[in-house]
C-alpha cells in the first residue's frame, strides 16, 4: 500500500497515548538540582577537611562517571553521563566516607555503586537499593579498619578529636562526649555548624538542611520523609536514654552521624522508596527506628546506612500493601 508519508504528517493530528500533559521536569534537571543542593556541604567539606576530602570526592565522581560511560557503551545503551545521576551517586558516596580514605577504596566503592548496584539491576530507575549506600556497606565490609579511621583535622581549631562524636558516645559514654566539646551548648553549636569529625559530607547539619529545604521547595522531595525520619530518631533516643526513660539527648542524636545527609538525600531517592505518601511515611519512620536500634543496641556506632538499605528491601512490600484508592472509587 503506497501511502504518502509526507501528506500523512501534514494533515493528520498527532495521535499518542496518555498522559498528554507532561511536566517540564526531567531526569537531568532533577539530578543537577540535587547536586546543586549538595554544593554548599561539598564546599564546606573541602574547607573543613582540606585536600584529602577534595581528592576523595573527585575520585568518587570521576570513577562513577567513567564506570557509567563504559557500562553504557558495553550495554549498547544511550550514554547518559550528562544527566548528573552518576555524578550524584559518586558524590553522595564520597560524602559518606572518611576524608583520609585511600583513593583506590573510593574508586572501588564508586565502581561497585554504578556497576553492581545500578547497572546490574537494570540501570537508572531499576535499582532496588540506594547505590551509594550499597557501596558504602560493601566498603565497610571490605576494609573495616580504614572505614572507621578518622584522622585529625587540620584546618579547624574548634574541635580537636580523632573520633566521631558517635564513636566517643559508643566507646566512652556521654560524659566524655560533653567533655570533648567543653560543654553541651558548645557541642550543639559545633555539630550544627559541622565543626566536628566525621564523614566528608555529613558534618554540617545546617548546610544539609538548607540543601534539603531547596529540594523541598522545588518539589523533588516530600517534607514528610526527612522530618519524620529525623523526628523518629529524636523521639526514640529521647525516650530510651542512657539512664532510664526520657533521659536521652535527642538533639545530639539528630545532629550526629549521617542522619542529616541520610534523611534529606538518601531516604528521598525517588527510585528506591515507596511511591505513595503513606508508604513514604512508613519508610521514613521505619528507617528512623532502625537507625536508633543500631545506634543504641547494635555493634556499629552509626546505623543510617544500614537502616535505609533495610528499608529499601521492604519497599516493594510496602508498595504492594499500600495501594492508593482508585480515582472515583468509594471506600
Amino acid at each position: 500500500m503506497a501511502v504518502n508519508e509526507e501528506s500523512l504528517k501534514m494533515n493528520l493530528l498527532t495521535v499518542s497515548t496518555s498522559p498528554h500533559i507532561t511536566s517540564s521536569e526531567s531526569i537531568p534537571k532533577i539530578m543537577w538540582s540535587v547536586n546543586a543542593a549538595l554544593a554548599p556541604a561539598v564546599i564546606f567539606a573541602a574547607w573543613h577537611f582540606g585536600m584529602p576530602a577534595i581528592i576523595t570526592m573527585l575520585v568518587g565522581v570521576v570513577t562513577a562517571v567513567a564506570t557509567e560511560y563504559i557500562i553504557q557503551v558495553i550495554r549498547k545503551k544511550e550514554v547518559t553521563i550528562n544527566d548528573g545521576s552518576a555524578v550524584l551517586t559518586g558524590l553522595l558516596l564520597a560524602m559518606c566516607l572518611p576524608p583520609s580514605l585511600p583513593w583506590y577504596m573510593t574508586a572501588f566503592g564508586s565502581f561497585l555503586a554504578i556497576a553492581v548496584a545500578k547497572h546490574s539491576m537494570g540501570g537508572l530507575g531499576h535499582n532496588i537499593f540506594n547505590p551509594a549506600h550499597i557501596a558504602r556497606a560493601a566498603m565497610m565490609a571490605s576494609w573495616p579498619v580504614a572505614m572507621t579511621t578518622w584522622t585529625q583535622m587540620t584546618t579547624s581549631v574548634d574541635v580537636v578529636t580523632s573520633a566521631t562524636p558517635l564513636n566517643i558516645l559508643k566507646q566512652q559514654g556521654y560524659a566524655k562526649l560533653i567533655e570533648t566539646f567543653g560543654d553541651a551548648s558548645n557541642m550543639y553549636q559545633a555539630m550544627f555548624l559541622g565543626l566536628r569529625n566525621g564523614s566528608i559530607g555529613e558534618t554540617s547539619a545546617v548546610l544539609l538542611i538548607l540543601g534539603g529545604i531547596f529540594l523541598i521547595y522545588k518539589g523533588y522531595i516530600k517534607w514528610e520523609m526527612p522530618v519524620l525520619m529525623i523526628g523518629t530518631v529524636g523521639l526514640l533516643t529521647w525516650i530510651f536514654g542512657p539512664s532510664g526513660l526520657f533521659t536521652g539527648d535527642p538533639l545530639f542524636h539528630m545532629l550526629a552521624g549521617g542522619l542529616m545527609i541520610g534523611a534529606f538525600f538518601m531516604a528521598t531517592d525517588m527510585v528506591t522508596i515507596p511511591i505513595t505518601r503513606k508508604g513514604k511515611i512508613i519508610f521514613a519512620v521505619g528507617a528512623g527506628v532502625l537507625t536508633v536500634l543500631i545506634r543504641l543496641k547494635g555493634g556499629y556506632p552509626e546505623g543510617v546506612c544500614y537502616a535505609i538499605l533495610l528499608m529499601n528491601c521492604v519497599t516493594p512490600l510496602i508498595d504492594r500493601f499500600i495501594v492508593p484508592k482508585k480515582f472515583g472509587a468509594r471506600r
Binding site: V116, S120, A138, M139, A141, S142, W143, P144
Partner: protein, 202 residues
C-alpha cells in the same frame, strides 16, 4: 560411545549443576573462600555423585517407587560417610576446614536430583557417565568461584601469593555476601555462553 560422551559433557557447561541448574548453591557460597576448600568439596561431591548414581542404577529395578527417596538417602549417606572417613584419616586439615559442610553433602540437591531424574531410569554405565559429568561440572564451578574469591579476596591462589603483597584485598569477597555477587555474575556469564552455543547449534 558418542552418546556416553554427550551424557558426560552436558554436565560441564550446558547443564552445569551450579551455573545452569542452580542446584547446590549452599556449598558454592559456604566453602569457596579458598581454592583448596572448593576443590576438595568438588572432588568429594564428584565421588559421591558418581558412586551413588551407579548404586541407584544397579538397584533401580528392585526398589519400590514408594520408598525410593529413603533408599536414595541411605545410599547417599553411606557413600558420604565413606568419603568423610577417608578425608578425616588422610587429610585432617581439609576435613577440619570443610567442617559441617562435609556431612551436609548428604542433602545436596544435585546428588538426589541426579539419582531421581537420571540414575533411576538408566543403566549403570550411562549413570556413571552422568555422575562423572555432573561431578566434574560441579568441581569446575566450585574452583572457578573459589579462584575468583581467593585471588581478589586475599591475593593468593592455592595459598601462594599471586598478587603483590601490597594488594589491599577487599574482605567483601571472602564474606558470604561477596560469594553471592561472584556467583551472580558467573551465572550471568554462563547464561550468555549457553545461549550462544544453543544459537549456533540451531
Amino acid at each position: 560411545m558418542k552418546e556416553l560422551w554427550s551424557i558426560f559433557s552436558k554436565g560441564i557447561l550446558m547443564e552445569n549443576p551450579i551455573f545452569v541448574l542452580a542446584l547446590s548453591l549452599c556449598p558454592a557460597l559456604a566453602v569457596t573462600s579458598s581454592v583448596t576448600n572448593a576443590l576438595t568439596m568438588g572432588l568429594t561431591v564428584m565421588f559421591v555423585i558418581t558412586v551413588n548414581n551407579m548404586t541407584i542404577s544397579l538397584i533401580r529395578n528392585f526398589v519400590n517407587p514408594k520408598v525410593r527417596l529413603p533408599v536414595y538417602i541411605v545410599s547417599i549417606a553411606t557413600i558420604v560417610t565413606v568419603a568423610q572417613l577417608v578425608l578425616q584419616a588422610y587429610f585432617p586439615l581439609l576435613y577440619k576446614a570443610l567442617g559441617i559442610y562435609l556431612a551436609l553433602v548428604v542433602v545436596f540437591a544435585i546428588i538426589l536430583a541426579r539419582a531421581e531424574v537420571f540414575a533411576s531410569k538408566n543403566n549403570v554405565i550411562r549413570s556413571c557417565c552422568d555422575g562423572l559429568g555432573m561431578g566434574v561440572g560441579f568441581a569446575v564451578a566450585m574452583v572457578i568461584i573459589g579462584a575468583v574469591r581467593e585471588v581478589f579476596g586475599s591475593g593468593t591462589f592455592l595459598g601462594y601469593h599471586v598478587l603483590p603483597i601490597s594488594y589491599d584485598a577487599p574482605l567483601l569477597l571472602i564474606l558470604p555476601a561477596g560469594a553471592f555477587i561472584v556467583i551472580g555474575y558467573l551465572i550471568g556469564g554462563a547464561r550468555i555462553l549457553v545461549n550462544r552455543i544453543e544459537k549456533s547449534k540451531a
